[in-house]
Amino acid sequence: MGLELYLDLLSQPSRAVYIFAKKNGIPFQLRALDLLKGHHLNPEFLPANSLQRVPVLKDGDFLLTESVAILIYLSIKYQTADHWYPSDLQARMRIHEYLGWHGDCIRSTFGVSLWAQVLAPLIGIQVPEEKLKRNRAAMDRALQCLEDKFLGDKAFLTGQQVTLADIMALEELMQAVAIGCDLFEGRPRLAAWRQRVEAFLGADLCRETHSVIWSIRELAANKKLPDPPPEMRSRMLLRIARIP
């Protein structure tokens, strides 16, 4: 059994891993999970001893979680092109610097809209407007920082070529874009960056990777989303409560 990747393309970090593996022609078995059905809580769907989250990598007996760790592992093991995770020390550290800030300011900030518009209503909950207002302000600040302090006049977030940082950022922003948030309005530099990243990855691969998130609103409207099981509902309630 070769490399296995346990993913749900509804999830931003899952998409980052998927798009990286596919773009680099890394051979893997896709183990697709449906988070809304609570698959990650079910030992039948995930390898034993994993953290009940996606993405998960299984390479023989070796298990690895956390998208950043997985991306770095894949880039080294499969010797992907240097630009993804440069061997030059300073260039490589810029990626870690970005990812540190990303963890604080991007991760989970851009997922709130999906919770508000699709996931919370799925269990009959309405996210309070004041939380949404705070989230819009947080997204605004994050995008400003992304544009000014990271992108600047460069082609990509940490240099002149695509790196792991760009795909992590893109997939987080897609979570909001795909359900109608116009993040790039009035931000031509960021919009241009997005075009460049997607052009580099290729339209077909982007379409394939983003198909789930693009269709989620329609699926919800047509009542085609699964009814989350009770153990999922309680976790979803907890997650919603944690929205600042």
Partner: protein, 240 residues
């Protein structure tokens, strides 16, 4: 001008960087940035880190922010012993995995626990609703359980048989709620034993030195009104 490290030992990630640099005898100039006094908002510091956060590093013309980036930079540049950040693919992946998980899980719980239990009431004179504190401590508890069950397991250190940057980052995080009086290691013999090993590997003197500031935080006199006014909006987010 050689390596400069901009730190406030009040901050968990700063302590990890400090311990790593000192333990590995990396020569550096310590530039203290007093967070409670708002020194991270100075124009001078913005030249070093436009994101206005500590830790920050300046090595000649090269500036770098974010503790994980700084730790990895120092380990590579100064060729520290392999166990800190192993070359072996899987061993290193275990360190990367911990560093990624802790950033959005344990760090948040530890920061909020410390602020809600100690800094808000004692320093800022802000009342924290008991339900909020209870919920934060419950979350901290869950993180500690995960730390034990999914990361430490039966190993001596988080990523294997030897200490790595993962352990430095973890121990400095846990000292945050410890400094506020949270019984982090009580009823957790496995974690307590790991703590002893980490402290022994770091060295008692260095460990105490790095934690002097945070352990004295509970004795801070209440902030004066001007400081309170300035800090309150910045730390609002820690009240959830």
């Amino acid at each position: 001008m050689g390596l400069e490290l901009y730190l406030d030992l009040l901050s968990q990630p700063c302590r990890a960087v400090y311990i790593f640099a000192k333990k590995n005898r990396i020569p550096f100039e310590l530039r203290t940035v007093d967070l409670l006094k708002g020194q991270h908002f100075s124009d001078a510091f913005a030249q070093v880190n436009p994101l206005r956060k500590v830790p920050a590093l300046k090595d000649g013309d090269f500036t770098l922010a974010e503790s994980v980036a700084i730790l990895l930079y120092l380990s590579r540049k100064y060729e520290t012993p392999d166990h800190w950040y192993p070359q072996d693919l899987q061993a290193r992946a275990c360190v990367d995995e911990y560093l990624a998980w802790q950033h959005t899980a344990l760090r948040s719980a530890c920061t909020r626990a410390m602020w809600q239990k100690m800094m808000f009431p004692v320093y800022l004179g802000v009342l924290v609703p008991p339900e909020t504190l209870a919920s934060t401590l419950a979350e901290l508890d869950k993180c500690l359980q995960l730390l034990e069950d999914k990361f430490l397991k039966d190993k001596d250190f988080l990523a294997g048989p030897h200490i790595s940057v993962a352990d430095l980052v973890a121990i400095t995080e846990l000292m945050h709620p410890v400094s506020a009086g949270c019984p982090v290691f009580k009823n957790r013999p496995k974690l307590a034993a790991w703590r002893q090993r980490v402290e022994a590997a770091i060295g008692e003197d260095l460990f105490q030195e790095a934690h002097k500031t945070i352990l004295k935080a509970k004795d801070l006199p209440p902030a004066d009104p001007a400081v309170k006014e300035r800090l309150k909006p910045l730390v609002q987010v820690l009240l959830h």
